[in-house]
Symmetry: C2
Subunit: 457 residues, 2 copies
């Protein structure tokens, strides 16, 4: 019988995360303090994040960082996740390509997000934190953080992007099962939220607005830290457990990927799968691997964004981050891939994209759902709308192989399932879903209008 | 690191199902033709079911039946499912008991139902069937059958119990993703549906009404067969892959269960886990294992039902089955565990219960949700409301162990996850869920009112 799924034993689950910063030919530019324009010091982030996480954020020397034993123990609740050979999809496409996916959707909360939530909760708890705040888009991160906080005996407050709060009510329920207080953002509960609502009544929310509110709440609450689901280096670091497992599992399958593909919101899911393979580009053992980051045509920071310093949030509470950005006040259209509705890319992925190690691919909403349907009907798993962007990209490559006859090996990350995204599918099936798009020109104007933020005091 | 999850390799996935009928000390009574009262011949079922399935239904001699290679291949898409040591739950309860669960919720459709759906689809396809019909309660079976039909290139039509159709709209969407035509039952699309609605306007539906409609549609459609999710022997047979895997996995963990627990609707999930272990009661190697079937207090066929001949459906289209029943016209209250809202137990489990090999346990709705919350917060997985009945029973036993200090080994089946059951959880969290209950006296009166159906011509 041909082998469909590959697992690691619990002993084989990685004991260390991979810190790509140590190996990057060009290090990412530093973050800057928006008030002074100066390079941001580690200490300036201590009020916001657990110290250990800040150290990870700044660490550019150690390629390997130990996973705490308690985090590794909780990883065993769902890891290793299976590496799956997508025979069903290959047959449906009639492609000679070999398609593999890493199935992160089997995590208890339904996505890869738990990999970092457990780590962030652990480091917060170690430093005596009692309450955490966070933002969430589609709800995958908020669910993961709520569950992780519960496991470590902390309270959690989640700001959920308003449009998704309304589109996907089940996510809110799930966070509540794990004891989280969930507030749609922008809300009237923070100054940032009030300001945004005053300026833009009926604002649908974005990850940018939710981050502003969560950051503000953390700042105003004693013994409370902010946690976040993507963009920063330490989040990507924790997610590398995905790629490190996948590397061993691909070895079990006797193959090495020619293409490594993941969807792209802030970058953590992409980084998690890609970075461990990218180190073999750096060390020269696998120079030709192609890394594709799949983003929506309606929120295309890699394919149409500008590389500059920008805020991580809408209200301008975060440090300035060197990133490919659409502008921190960019309001993405209401596509269903809520987790990809973010204006910027993290500093590490931005630098890697700038240096040509990875490439953005833009996928429109209808293509993503068409890919999701093909995948669901051949592999049985209904993917999250975010992950559907990775699937669509993998299908493009596989169809190209069909034309050329090449047996390329494709690996993509199934970052989450779509069981809680049924209203999106219903709209797709009823024909009422639409594509959305923004031009390079519009993006350029929006970013130029911000001016040079490092000099705006 | 202590081991949390146990998997089998694909080679170790069972190559045969276990047919308990061959080993039963007392064979189940035969089904009867409701028109004649005579013992039902195999041929009488051929218009309804694929022949091979009918043969399995009647097979009382072969203890082992080969799993077709194609079915086994599709099993590898999600099997083996993990056997999980519930360390989190044990710690939350402070019990000395060792608790294990078989996690069937990782199947692509979210429950154990796919084990039989794949088999039924295969045998239908082999016999040239082009369309299948079926019923579904909570929607787990309908989803599984829709997906399996799609894999084998057949059309599917699903009658879903009306109350669940309305309570859990995401399930309908999921079936539609897999190409199923979904109709709420009772509907005006069949004679049975019309008759029921005429007699009982605003009927909420039950598995009994949905079966009547699906059976009628299959009978009226050329080249179409009926498939079903529980009750009959061949369904239980296919589900034994659960227990056969669990047996090997418990061996890997170095333990043998003192208690085997599953929730109970028609019996297939219970049978699937329990039968392979029950054979060791028959052969004397493990005589003292306790088998508990967890049912809702509002639909208590094992704890309060009467053992007699009854129809499998509300309209009286099916053969007469020797079963513990609440009466085929019993209308269960609208509890959220839709998959357990069925009036009867299959003939094999009924005989085994009669002979004392297994015992019913009744769990009320609030206790089931309380157990579900404890489980979600300690193991991370939000269980289906049905499976929550098994969890509640396991918790009862574990709490008993806490009192006595005994280190009993408990194994239960997590038959499905509850990601699509969020409205139930929301009602529980908001305090608006209620218990429901029916007395032995009411049950007795309802069943007595039917009279002896084998003599009603």
């Amino acid at each position: 019988m041909r082998q469909k799924r590959y697992f690691l034993t619990e002993q084989e689950i990685p004991a260390q995360w991979y810190n790509i910063q140590a190996d990057m030919p060009n290090k990412p530019l530093p973050m800057r303090n928006p008030q002074t324009g100066e390079v941001l010091k580690q200490e300036e982030l201590y009020p916001l994040f657990a110290k250990e996480l800040v150290k990870q954020e700044y660490n550019q020397t150690d390629a390997w960082i130990d996973i705490p034993e308690k985090v590794r123990e909780y990883y065993t609740y769902y890891r290793s996740t299976p590496l799956v050979r997508a025979y069903g999809l290959e047959e449906a496409l009639g492609t000679p390509a070999h398609i593999y996916f890493k199935n992160e959707s089997v995590s208890p909360v339904g996505s890869h997000k738990l990999n970092s939530a457990l780590a962030q909760a652990y480091f917060c708890k170690e430093e005596g934190v009692t309450n955490v705040t966070t933002e969430t888009g589609a709800g995958q991160w908020g669910t993961a953080m709520a569950y992780a906080a519960k496991l470590f005996g902390m309270e959690s407050a989640v700001y959920q992007v308003k449009i998704t709060f309304e589109q996907k009510p089940y996510r809110k329920n799930m966070m509540q099962i794990f004891g989280a207080q969930v507030t749609p953002s922008p809300s009237m509960s923070t100054r940032a939220g009030k300001d945004i609502l005053t300026q833009f009544p009926n604002h649908n929310g974005s990850l940018g607005t939710a981050i502003s509110e969560a950051v503000e709440l953390a700042r105003m609450t004693p013994n409370c830290k902010y946690t976040l689901g993507s963009t920063l280096n330490f989040v990507s670091l924790h997610q590398t457990v995905i790629g490190l497992e996948a590397e061993k599992q691909m070895e079990m399958a006797g193959e090495y990927p020619d293409y490594v593909i993941a969807c792209f919101g802030g970058g953590s899911n992409f980084s998690g799968l890609a970075f461990p393979f990218m180190r073999h580009v750096f060390d020269g053992t696998h120079k030709d691997t192609v890394f594709l980051a799949a983003e929506p045509t309606s929120c295309p920071k890699l394919t149409k964004g500008i590389f500059t310093y920008d805020y991580g949030d809408e209200a301008g509470y975060t440090p300035l981050i060197p990133m490919y950005t659409l502008g921190h006040d960019f309001r993405p259209s209401n596509i269903h891939a809520g987790g990809l509705r973010y204006h910027g890319a993290g500093s590490v992925v931005s630098q890697l994209a700038k240096d040509g190690y990875m490439k953005g691919v833009d996928i429109n909403q209808l293509e993503s759902f068409e890919a999701a349907m093909t995948f669901a009907n051949s592999e049985g798993i209904v993917p999250a709308p975010e992950s559907a962007h990775a699937i669509a990209t993998a299908i493009r490559v596989a169809n190209e192989c069909k034309k050329t006859g090449e047996k390329k090996v494709i690996l993509f990350n199934l970052s989450g399932h779509g069981m809680i995204d049924m209203p999106s599918y219903q709209q797709y099936l009823s024909g009422s879903l639409q594509n959305a798009h923004i031009s390079s020109d519009e993006v350029r104007k929006n970013v130029e209008a911000m001016g040079d933020l490092t000099k705006r005091k």
